[in-house]
């Protein structure tokens, strides 16, 4: 798992490469938590175009990140995603909440 971060104003883009599974989720969760609590960051954009797989633990990390963002008055969206990840997020039914203008709470 590789995490690349780029910041543009108060928008942090996190690009994940590889698989978000049991092995990598802890590292991603810790990093996302740090980013979320950073006062300079107001919006987190996930770029999953090079993410090949997301397991249930990875989905849990995503939902927790979303909830944390709502709690702190920030926004989390998934800007890009591979077909495999899109299918999984769609199947779980959480794709709309990570779309721009998705569910707001």
């Amino acid at each position: 798992m590789r995490i690349q971060e780029t910041i543009n104003g108060n928008i942090m883009t996190i690009r994940l490469t590889g698989s978000l599974d049991d092995a990598s989720s802890h590292m991603v969760e810790s990093r996302v938590n740090e980013i979320m609590t950073d006062e300079k960051v107001g919006e987190v954009n996930f770029d999953f175009s090079d993410l090949h797989y997301i397991s249930s633990i990875g989905i849990r990390v995503l939902i927790l990140a979303y909830k944390k963002a709502v709690k702190l008055g920030k926004t989390v969206i998934v800007t890009e995603m591979s077909d495999k990840v899109r299918i999984i997020l769609k199947m779980v039914g959480i794709l709309p909440i990570f779309s721009p203008g998705g569910v707001k709470k």
């Binding site: 939902i63 709690k71 702190l72 959480i94 909440i97």
Partner: protein, 312 residues
């Protein structure tokens, strides 16, 4: 657990027992006549299968018993004990037979009447695959891990019998060509291959069973099902914490906490929990869901900015 589940499990066990008795007789007779190490290995596996079938017969009766004052979570774990036993004993047999096969490769012996071995193994192939088909069908209907393991066992035995039948066919063919010096090595090499074929799935079976006995979480499908409903009801709670799950036979136990605003009425909080529990139960058959409610810490941006809480 519905009474039908118990019926499916008992049917599977009876078929398993009957097939194992017939297989034992055929293989024992074939071993006496043919004197083959590969058949001895196959017979060893059947003996294990027969013993496990008998244990399974009593385990199934126990597993379907409802929870009581002593076993508050029911008796589902007895199925994993069966799985683990089957895996461990098969590994033991495979290791013993592979060492015997290695010795026989160094000091080879002729097998007698390979056509008897061929006929008996061919019959075994049909019996095993037929049994595997029926038992797997019952395993699917009952969602029982022990019955599922039994179905796998039968399928594995079917492949083993097919492999041994192939070795006898090869022996008959080579013997007809006067290549007896090669023929003597076929039987121990087949026994060694069978041992290797048995070790890998048996190890996986035992490992999975031990993990379940050590309360490993529910499988990926069920984990996703939990998250699916948490995602579906995302607008009704502040956050969720400490998802824990475990399996006991076909029964699954899930528990977690949801954080809700402290001002929420008890009735509304209970409704949120009850809806979530019902939805997850629908998605994961034979599951017990327990959700605890915790009040929020009021450390969110809504409180800081004096805004209306969206979860009220």
């Amino acid at each position: 657990m519905s009474p039908k589940v118990g019926i499916y499990m008992r049917r599977a066990v009876l078929v398993s027992l009957s097939c194992n008795v017939v297989l034992f007789i055929i293989k024992a007779v074939a071993l006496i006549v043919v004197n083959s190490l590969a058949i001895a290995m196959d017979l060893g596996i059947t003996v294990v299968g027969l013993i496990v079938s008998i244990i399974l017969y009593y385990s199934v009766k126990l597993a379907v018993k409802p929870a009581d004052l002593i076993h508050n979570y029911g008796y589902g774990k007895v199925e994993h004990v069966c799985e683990a036993m089957e895996g461990v004993v098969l590994i033991g047999i495979a290791l013993a037979m592979s060492s015997q096969a290695l010795l026989s490769i160094l000091h080879p012996k002729h097998v007698e009447m390979p056509w008897v071995g061929l006929v008996s193994c061919t019959v075994n192939v049909f019996l095993n695959f037929g049994g595997a088909w029926y038992i797997s069908k019952m395993a699917k209907k009952s969602a029982s891990p022990a019955i599922h393991a039994e179905g796998l066992h039968f399928r594995l035995e079917g492949f083993i019998s097919a492999m041994i039948a192939g070795s006898f066919l090869l022996s008959i063919f080579l013997r007809g060509r006067g290549l007896s010096e090669i023929v003597v090595h076929i039987d121990p090499v087949t026994a060694l291959l069978v041992s290797l074929v048995v070790i890998v799935p048996s190890f996986k079976l035992a490992k999975a069973a031990f993990f379940k006995l050590l309360d490993s979480s529910v499988e990926e499908d069920s984990q996703i099902e939990i998250l699916k409903h948490l995602g579906h009801h995302i607008a009704e709670y502040c956050e969720f914490r400490d998802i824990k799950s475990r399996t006991a036979g076909q029964k699954k136990f899930v528990e977690f906490k949801i954080v809700v605003p402290e001002e929420i009425s008890f009735k509304k909080g209970h409704t949120v929990i009850a809806t979530l529990e019902d939805d997850i139960k629908q998605g994961i058959p034979d599951s017990e869901i327990m959700i605890k409610m915790e009040p929020c810490d009021k450390d969110c941006s809504f409180v800081a900015n004096n805004e209306q809480c969206p979860y009220l």
